[in-house]
Amino acid sequence: MRRPRQRSLDVLLQQIINGLSLGGIYALIALGYTMVYGIIELINFAHGDVYTLGTFFSLAVLTLLGVSGEVHGPALLGIVALTIAVAMLLCGLTGVIIERLAYRRLRNAPRLAPLITAIGMSFILQNIMQYWRGPSPVPFPQVIPNPTFHIGPVDIAAKQLLVIALAIAMMIVLQLFIFNTKLGKAMRATAQDRDAAQLMGININTTIALTFLIGSALAGAAGFVSGVYYGSTWFFNGFAAGLKAFTAAVLGGIGNLAGAMLGGFLIGLIESLTTQFISDQWSNVVVFSVLVLVLIFRPSGLLGESLPNKV
C-alpha cells in the first residue's frame, strides 16, 4: 500500500496525462480555426462539423477496407496512413467547397454576413451527417492496439500518446509550412494586406482556398484520432468540441498557431484538474472563467494575436 500523499501525487500525474490527451484533440481542431481566422478573419463555425465529418469519413474508409478490430504489424501502419490520408483529403475538399459556396462571395460583405452563413453551413453539415449515419452514436472500430505503458505510477495508453504527439507534430509542420514555403509566404501576405498581395501577383482565391484545404484537412486528422480515442461518434459531436476548440484558439491568441495548441492543452488540463479537485460539473465554468480572466488582462490571448506574421 502506498502512502496517501504518494497516491494523491500519482492521481495528479494521471489527471495531467488525461488533460493533455483531451487537450490534444482540442488543439488539433483549434489549429484549423485559428488558421482560417488568421487569413480572412472569419470564425468558421462549420469547422467543428468538418471535424465530425472526418470521423465519419475515416469510418467509411475502415468499413470499405473491412477493418472492424485491432490490426497488427505493417498492415496497421498502412491502414492508419490510408485512412488518415483519405479523411484529410475529403475533409480538405469539403472545406474548399464550403469556402467556395458560403464564404467567397461574402468576402467583402459586412462581417456579420459570413458569420451567419458559417452557422448555416454548420447546420447543413450536421443534417447531412444525420441523414447519412442516423442520429444515434455510431461505434468506431478500435484499429490501433492500445497497450498501456506504466511509467512509474502513471498509466499512459498508446491512444493518448498518439493524440498528444499528433497535435504537436501537426503544429510544427504547419509552422514550417507557413514560414518556410512560398505558399506559406503567400498566405502571410494575404493575411497582412489582401489588396497589396493581389497587386504583387498572389492569387488570393487560390491562397484562401488553400488555407481552407489545410485547415479542414487537419480537422479530418483530428476526426480520425477522436474516433480511435473515444470509440464512437455521432453527428452532433462537432458542436461541443468545436466550441471548446474555438475557446482554445481565443485563449492562446486567435490566429496564432502555437497559441491554439497551448490553449488546447491548457483547456484540457483545466478540465481534468477541475474534475479531480473540485467537481466535474464545474469544469466548464472554470474553463470559461479562466478565459474571461485572460481576456481581461491580455485581450489578445496568451501568446498574442500574432496572425501569421502581422507583427
Binding site: G120, I124, G231
Partner: protein, 413 residues
C-alpha cells in the same frame, strides 16, 4: 447568375434540412372525413437519436393498442381512433421544450381526447402544467421521478388547477427504484459506491434516492458527481472515481446523456472489473451498442414487470411480434397498457354520452376512476395523485451481450 442559383439552392437545402427531428411523422394523416368520426390520441415520445432504441418500441406498444381497438370495432364502429405521433427528441436527445411544443399541438387539436407520454421525467415536468391547464388526460408509460406526482414539487407543476390531476403513470417511482437497486447492490456485497448522474430530473432524482437508500443499508458513498450535457470525455472523472477504489459505479441518467460512453470509458482507465449499476435509463439497445463488450456485467432496473415472463402478457407478446417483427422493448407492454386504459376511458365516455363525441373532462374522469384494469403488466389502478397502485420492478443483467432478467420485485403501496 450561376452563383445566384447556387445561393438559392443553398437556401433551399438549409430550409429542407433544418432540424428534421423536431417535426415528425404524423401517421394520422389528414383525414378528410368531418371532425367527429375520428378521435385522436396524442403520442409524445423520443423516437430519434440515442433515445430511439427505447422510444420506438414504446411507441409500437401504443400503435398496437390503437390498431387492435379499431379492428375490434371500437365504440361499435362509430368512431375511429387515430394516433398523432410526435417526437420530443432534438439533436438526438429528449428535450423538454420540444415536448411542451408537442403537447401544445395536441391541446390545440380538439379531436385529441388524451395523450400517452412522455418517456422522460424532465420532459414530463414541462408538459404537466400544460395538460393540467387544458384538462387533457396524460398517461406516461415510464416517467419515474417522484416529484411528478408526490410532494410540493408536484403541486407546483399543477399550476392552473392545483386540485385537479391530469397526469397518470403506470410505472413506479424512483424512491422505489433507487431502494430496490440499493438493496440489490448490498445483496451482492457491494459496500462502496461512486455515484455519477446527468443532473437531469430523472437522473439526479434516481441517484439521490439510491444514495439515501444505500446509506441506510450500510453502504458508503465515496463521491457523487454530476456530468454536463453533451459531455464526451469522462476519463478525468473516472480517474478520480478509480482513485477512491469503489466496488461499483452507480449511474443515474439515460444512455443518451452519457450512460453508455461512461461504461465504455471505464475500460480505458482500468475500471473494467469495477461493477456498474444504473436505472431504467440505460435499459436499452443503445446502451449495449455504445458500451460494447463492457456492457457485460452491468446491472439495471426497469420500472415495469418483465412482460416476457408474465402469463398475462403472452397474448400481447404474440401480437407485437406478429405486427412489428421484433422483440418488445422494456416499456412496450407498459405503453400498450397505458393506451388501453385511455381507450377504455374514451369508450366508457362515449357510451355514457349515448354515442356522442365525449369531452376531455369526461375522459379524464374515467381514467382517474380506473380500478383493477386487466393489462399485460397486471391489474392497473391509480391513486388520487396519479400513481399506479401496484407497480413492479425488474432487475436485469447484461450477459454475453444479451439482457437477462435477474429478479422481479412487486411493490406494495
Amino acid at each position: 447568375m450561376r452563383f445566384r442559383f447556387l445561393a438559392v439552392l443553398l437556401a433551399a437545402a438549409l430550409a429542407a434540412c433544418s432540424s428534421p427531428s423536431t417535426t415528425t411523422t404524423s401517421s394520422s394523416g389528414t383525414s378528410s372525413s368531418p371532425s367527429g368520426d375520428t378521435i385522436k390520441i396524442g403520442v409524445d415520445l423520443p423516437v430519434s437519436g440515442a433515445d430511439a432504441s427505447t422510444g420506438i418500441p414504446t411507441q409500437n406498444g401504443v400503435l398496437l393498442a390503437i390498431e387492435q381497438a379499431n379492428k375490434n370495432g371500437f365504440a361499435g364502429g362509430k368512431f375511429k381512433l387515430a394516433p398523432v405521433l410526435l417526437d420530443d427528441a432534438v439533436q438526438g436527445k429528449h428535450d423538454p421544450a420540444a415536448g411542451a411544443q408537442n403537447v401544445k399541438a395536441f391541446i390545440a387539436d380538439n379531436d385529441v381526447l388524451g395523450m400517452i407520454g412522455p418517456f422522460n421525467s424532465n420532459v414530463a415536468k414541462s408538459e404537466i402544467p400544460l395538460t393540467n391547464d387544458a384538462g387533457l388526460v396524460q398517461i406516461s408509460p415510464s416517467n419515474t421521478n417522484d416529484a411528478l406526482t408526490v410532494g410540493d414539487g408536484a403541486k407546483a407543476l399543477r399550476t392552473s388547477h392545483p386540485d385537479v390531476n391530469a397526469y397518470f403513470r403506470v410505472c413506479t417511482n424512483d424512491s422505489n427504484q433507487g431502494g430496490a437497486l440499493a438493496q440489490f447492490a448490498r445483496k451482492k456485497n457491494y459496500a462502496k459506491v461512486f455515484i455519477i448522474d446527468d443532473n437531469e430530473t430523472y437522473g439526479k432524482g434516481l441517484a439521490d434516492s439510491f444514495e439515501a437508500h444505500f446509506g441506510k443499508l450500510g453502504g458508503t458513498t465515496l463521491g457523487h458527481e454530476h456530468i454536463t450535457a453533451n459531455q464526451q470525455d469522462f476519463k478525468a472523472l473516472l480517474t478520480k472515481a478509480k482513485a477512491s477504489s469503489p466496488d461499483f459505479v452507480f449511474f443515474g441518467g439515460t444512455t443518451s446523456t452519457g450512460g453508455g460512453l461512461l461504461r465504455r470509458q471505464m475500460g480505458d482507465v482500468g475500471m473494467a472489473k469495477v461493477g456498474y449499476i444504473g436505472g431504467d435509463g440505460i435499459s436499452d439497445a443503445e446502451f449495449l451498442s455504445t458500451a460494447g463488450s463492457l456492457a457485460n456485467g452491468t446491472y439495471f432496473s426497469v420500472a415495469a414487470p418483465d412482460a416476457t415472463k408474465l402469463a398475462s402478457a403472452r397474448e400481447f407478446l404474440t401480437a407485437y411480434q406478429a405486427r412489428f417483427k421484433q422483440d418488445v422493448g422494456a416499456y412496450s407492454a407498459s405503453a400498450y397498457a397505458a393506451t388501453n386504459v385511455l381507450i377504455a376511458a374514451i369508450d366508457k365516455a362515449i357510451t355514457a354520452d349515448g354515442g356522442k363525441m365525449p369531452t376531455r373532462a369526461e375522459v379524464l374522469a374515467n381514467v382517474a376512476a380506473t380500478k383493477d384494469f386487466a393489462s399485460p403488466i397486471g391489474p392497473i389502478g391509480f391513486n388520487a395523485l396519479g400513481d399506479s397502485l401496484n407497480p413492479a420492478l425488474t432487475l436485469q443483467e447484461v450477459q454475453g451481450g444479451k439482457v437477462v432478467t435477474v429478479d422481479v420485485i412487486s411493490i406494495k403501496s
